[in-house]
């Protein structure tokens, strides 16, 4: 079966940061939930190798875009929660601007093909 292709890995990697920032803008979250939500929203077409999310989160934390705290899950298990910092909000706005630009250029070109 080959219906809608999975998103290729370069694009998955490039979109990781804007997606994480935008997800965290809705409120704090943790690794597992972030992956589940991205999968759900993309209908399974945007899939990370689970572990690979963590180096991205740690890089963003080092750069001061997000902050982390240890908390507990409903079942009492330790969980690391991430939330957005001020610089993260700015970075998110920039990402949105750039992705919109790419999208509009692409959409414009596509439209011209059908004229």
């Amino acid at each position: 079966m080959y219906s809608v292709p999975m998103i290729r890995k370069e694009l998955v990697a490039a979109s990781a940061e804007p997606l994480i920032l935008s997800l965290l803008a809705k409120g704090e979250s943790y690794g597992y939930a972030i992956i589940q939500e991205v999968k759900l929203r993309s209908e399974g077409k945007l899939q990370w190798t689970d572990g690979m999310l963590y180096p991205v989160l740690h890089r963003m934390e080092n750069r001061g875009l997000i902050k982390a705290r240890w908390g507990e899950s409903e079942t009492g298990r330790k969980r690391k929660y991430y939330s957005l910092k001020k610089d993260g909000k700015t970075a998110m706005a920039k990402h949105h601007e750039q992705w919109s630009l790419v999208h509009s250029v692409l959409a414009g070109l596509k439209k011209e093909q059908y004229v």
Binding site: G31, Y32, G51, Y54, H58, R59, N62, R77
Partner: protein, 212 residues
């Protein structure tokens, strides 16, 4: 009977062997893995199957560690810079002037003098070429084996220095100039051990950066 805890503990061993650090980020990764297993077992999968599936989805330890290394690289660079400045300062502003002064001030026979000069040349050479020395070291990908060899070399270096100093300083009555040269020789013995340890680590890093 399948033991989930044992399965997770063996997964941890693999992660540690690849160089994933504990407690951060390993604890976080384990928490994620457990969450995955829990969800799969809740949907009716057998624990053993669920763990295998969660591990597969999680990805291999080596590429993951390579990504973490990239993240750490920046902070690692500042750390290296500080060490470099420190070593340069100690060597060029403290050790070297002390020696030159000693050579100038005290009389020594040619054997002592050449031992001192050889040490100074060797030390300066090591310090200036520190970054390039790792090409002489073999790459030992097995972390445990590499660290065992490296740490043993460093310990031998320190032990060698202590023994040497004890032997030479306690059993011979030396002039001030000779004491300084003897201390330098002792430090050289120690730095060879430390150098082997650092060289092996650097060599291993070289292998991960070229394959990453």
């Amino acid at each position: 009977m399948f033991d989930l805890e044992q399965g997770i503990s063996s997964w941890r061993t693999h992660m540690l062997a690849a160089g994933i650090k504990t407690p951060v980020p390993l604890e976080e990764l384990e928490s994620h893995l457990r969450e995955g297993v829990q969800e799969l077992t809740a949907s009716g999968m057998e624990p053993q199957e669920a763990l295998a599936a969660a591990i597969k989805k999680f990805g291999l330890p080596m590429p993951l560690q390579a990504e973490f290394t990239k993240v750490d690289k920046k902070s690692h660079l500042t750390e290296q810079y500080v060490i470099k400045v420190l070593v340069y300062t100690i060597w060029f502003c403290l050790v070297l002037p002390t020696y030159l002064y000693t050579f100038y001030k005290y009389d020594m026979n040619w054997a002592w003098r050449s031992a001192g000069i050889a040490n100074i040349i060797f030390g300066t050479f090591l310090i200036l070429l520190y970054k390039k020395i790792n090409i002489w070291f073999p790459i030992i990908p097995n972390r445990l084996r590499r660290q065992t060899i490296g740490i043993s070399a460093a310990v031998c270096g320190v032990a060698g220095m202590v023994l040497f100093m004890n032997f030479i300083l306690l059993h011979f009555s030396l002039t001030m100039g000779q004491v300084v040269v003897a201390v330098l020789c002792g430090l050289t013995v120690m730095s060879i051990g430390g150098g082997i340890q650092a060289g092996l680590e650097e060599a291993a890093k070289r292998s991960t950066t070229t394959t990453a």
